[in-house]
């Protein structure tokens, strides 16, 4: 993770502090207290546990090991902070290669090309505190909207998403920003889905497969290569080549989506991929 904003840096910020501030702002905005607050904290820990669980089935993942709820909570207690070591993605070394080609060429190269159906990006203020909404990433909201429009795909058709989980908070908030959950409710869906986790979040009666490669948390976060790794996962899933972690969607899995954020939400990129062209 990098701290791109000079003002935050001059004031003493760390990359991790922004995530914790967003969590504090989230708790305040949605007035979470008592049991709700406890469940939010557990839900965030479950995001980490879930991502590690997925990574154990990914031969390319950086951390192919199990992490328990207790491990995540203990790490927070050790740090004496709302988020601990196991809530954050690492900074990793890694590389990813994508071969992009026109439809004609792609169809010559492979029997099962994956099509770029839609894409979009958006930019916000570099300084996180200067943004109007401290609890969400406006860039995600803008980018997903126009990417879906371009792809002519509805949000309900999306079951496979690779989110940019630099922290567990980011995965939770992104579920809301993408539009899968109402603002202030994603933690509830995560909490309930993870009571007996079966490989997906259950959101609005629908299966949502999130970060099947282990996410940035467990697959690794090689910065510039991260988006490539996320795309690679969607590519494999859409081609049904993901082996043990191949998702079992309701109906056919023919679209997937990648969200990448830059500089704590300064820029957001959304790509919608499909196994069939529109």
């Amino acid at each position: 993770m990098l701290l791109e904003d000079p003002w935050s840096f001059y004031a003493g910020c760390t990359p991790e502090a922004n995530h914790e501030l967003m969590l504090r702002a989230y708790i305040k905005k949605y007035d979470l207290r008592g049991q709700d607050l406890e469940r939010l904290n557990v839900a965030l820990a479950q995001v980490s546990v879930k991502n590690h669980l997925h990574a154990m089935k990914n031969e390319y993942a950086q951390y192919q090991r199990n992490v328990t709820l207790k491990n995540v909570l203990d790490a927070r207690a050790d740090a004496g902070k709302p988020l601990g070591l196991l809530d954050f993605a690492p900074v990793s070394d890694g590389a990813a290669t994508l071969i992009l080609a026109s439809e004609k060429v792609a169809e010559k190269l492979t029997d099962k090309p994956v099509y770029v159906l839609g894409f979009s990006s958006a930019t916000d203020f570099l300084t996180f505190p200067a943004r109007e909404d401290l609890t969400h990433f406006i860039v995600t909201r803008m980018a997903i909207k126009s990417a879906l429009k371009m792809a002519e795909v509805s949000l309900r058709d999306l079951q496979l998403i690779e989110l940019y989980d630099q922290s567990t908070v980011m995965e939770m908030v992104s579920l809301e920003d993408m539009g899968f959950c109402e603002p202030g409710t994603a933690w509830r869906s995560i909490y309930e889905s993870c009571q007996h986790y079966e490989g997906y979040y259950e959101v609005g009666g629908k299966k949502l497969f999130v970060n099947m490669n282990g996410g940035l948390k467990a697959d690794g976060n090689p910065l510039g290569a991260t988006g490539g790794a996320q795309t690679f996962e969607v590519f494999r899933q859409l081609r049904e080549e993901a082996g043990e972690r191949q998702v079992k969607a309701d109906g056919n899995l023919n679209v997937g989506c990648v969200l990448e954020l830059e500089g704590f939400g300064t820029k957001g990129y959304v790509y919608v991929f499909g196994s069939e062209k529109n």
Binding site: L3, Y10, A11, G12, A17, R24, A25, P82, P129, A130
Partner: protein
């Protein structure tokens, strides 16, 4: 170090905390912007500056940073958060300063959030000896603790005086202290130094005097602990406080100068400031004099280490003018001799001291001469003087000379602040004067005699006016308030040395 233009831009915006407001929709930005994101092209030319330097903010959310980025590691753990101004219209990142957080100390963010905070002018972080010292006001303290919120309202001059004098003053010292025996001494926090103290004192001086910052045409900053061997600090103070006429090019129309003349670097130029504002063609309405020091001393077991028992930290600022005076200058007398009882050779980290040589032939000889000569010149008797302020390097010297000159306890005790703040070098006699001005009634005569080692003495006679009472409520940070504050934090010797050196 970032490139020079960026560094300058950062200091213009960050030292003073400036933003921009759209005149059309009222949206505010913490950055200089030519147009508004909401209003687009039509807002071009309609963006006005917004100033947060004297504002009160609210700590919206915060968290503990226990493993800071590289340049901040010397600050240890600290609370970092988001501060909002103008009911949330403008938000800035901020660090809570003046808090020492112990290892493994738990911070409950919810107990800190929602509280009012005041921007403080501090070092941004620690740098190597050869680097420029970066400063910023993205450091905050709680308004209900040591440093209360005080608004700044510049009012036009109401009353003119025939002679020049003091229009207002401010004294600043940190909330950290070391207590050894009967003496308590102030210590800078790790992000403070003589520059930050000078700015704080100057800010308080402007608040108290009520003069428009643009009316201050000259600033003198006297110090023996300029953190630079070569680089002025008065320019930084002038820029942060926006002294003198301001134009769009961010160059202040003020004459700024550093003075270094032992412990009388500030008092020496009281008369220059007064004369300047009195000279009709100077075009200078007000002049500011600041005495500031993070008083230097070698560690106790080293040569010169005896000073380590007395050194303090603080700054006092005085605004001189000819309108709305709180005290008129009645006269002065200065004397000089080359009596080198305190010195620091170039390249040496700490000053040396003349030991017993510093008493009779140095301090007493000069203070005695300046005081007696001034009293003779003005035809004053001891009983004509309400308060006597002598330079205070320790608690004994000023008492001894006051007694010798015939002053009584009620005349010299109110000024004796060295036992509260330590020897503040260039700020030592000015803080004594501030303590007296805090309590003096109108028509009181105050005699101040400073002393600088190897420099000499200045004696001044001031007579307070009735306006001293009008202005008194403007100053919450009085000398007594800072001396007897319930939020003072006492540290041990090791921490004291670390803070003093900014390490």
């Amino acid at each position: 170090l970032s490139s020079e233009p960026i560094e300058r831009r950062v200091s213009y915006l960050g030292d003073r905390l400036r933003g921009t407001r759209c005149e059309i929709c009222g949206k505010e930005y913490f950055e200089i912007r030519d147009y508004c994101g909401n209003c687009g092209r039509k807002s071009f030319g309609r963006m006005v500056g917004s100033d947060l330097f004297y504002e009160k903010g609210e700590l919206e959310v915060c968290t503990l940073v226990s493993e800071p980025t590289n340049k901040f590691t010397k600050l240890g753990s600290y609370v970092y958060g988001i501060v909002s101004f103008h009911d949330g219209k403008i938000r800035v990142p901020g660090r809570l300063t003046d808090r020492m957080i112990k290892q493994k100390e738990k911070i409950d963010s919810s107990t800190l959030e929602g509280r009012a905070v005041v921007p403080r002018f501090r070092r941004r972080y620690s740098v190597e000896k050869c680097d420029i010292i970066p400063t910023i006001s993205l450091a905050f303290t709680f308004a209900d603790e040591y440093y209360p919120y005080q608004g700044y309202r510049a009012a036009g001059p109401k009353k003119e005086y025939d002679v020049p004098g003091i229009v207002g003053y401010g004294f600043y010292s940190s909330r950290f202290r070391i207590r050894e025996g009967s003496i308590e001494r102030a210590i800078p926090f790790i992000d403070e130094d003589s520059i930050t103290a000078a700015v704080e004192a100057g800010k308080l001086g402007l608040i108290h005097s009520g003069v428009d910052n643009a009316s201050v045409g000259k600033i003198y900053v006297g110090s023996e602990s300029n953190p630079y061997a070569v680089k002025p600090i008065a320019s930084k103070v002038a820029q942060v406080l926006k002294l003198g006429e301001e134009s769009d090019d961010d160059v202040q129309g003020v004459d700024a100068v550093d003075t270094e003349f032992a412990c009388k670097a500030a008092t020496s130029v009281f008369k220059d400031a007064a004369s300047l504002v009195d000279y009709p063609k100077s075009n200078i309405q007000n002049a500011m004099v600041i005495g500031t020091d993070n008083s230097q001393a070698a560690p106790r077991d080293c040569p010169g280490g005896e000073l380590d028992l007395f050194v303090g930290y603080g700054a006092a600022a005085y605004v001189f003018g000819k309108t709305d005076l709180i005290a008129e200058i009645e006269g002065w007398y200065s004397c000089t001799s080359d009596t080198p009882d305190f010195w620091r050779r170039d390249g040496e980290p700490h000053p040396m001291h003349g030991g017993r040589y510093t008493g009779d032939p140095a301090y007493f000889k000069h203070v005695r001469k300046a005081t007696v000569k001034l009293m003779q010149r003005l035809g004053l008797q001891v009983e004509d003087v309400d308060y006597f302020v002598a330079h205070q390097p320790n608690a004994q010297f000023p008492v001894k000379i006051a007694k010798e000159l015939g002053f009584k306890e009620e005349q010299y005790m109110p000024s004796l602040q060295v036992i509260r703040f330590g020897n503040t070098y260039s700020g030592a006699s000015p803080v004594g004067l501030a303590a007296v001005l805090d309590v003096a009634k109108p028509d009181s005569r105050i005699l101040v005699t400073s002393y600088g080692s190897g420099a000499g003495s200045d004696a001044y006679s001031f007579v307070t006016t009735s306006q001293i009472l009008d202005k008194r409520p403007r100053q919450k940070l009085t000398v007594k308030y800072q001396a007897e504050n319930p939020f003072l934090e006492h540290v041990d010797y090791t921490t004291y040395r670390r803070l003093k050196l900014g390490m």
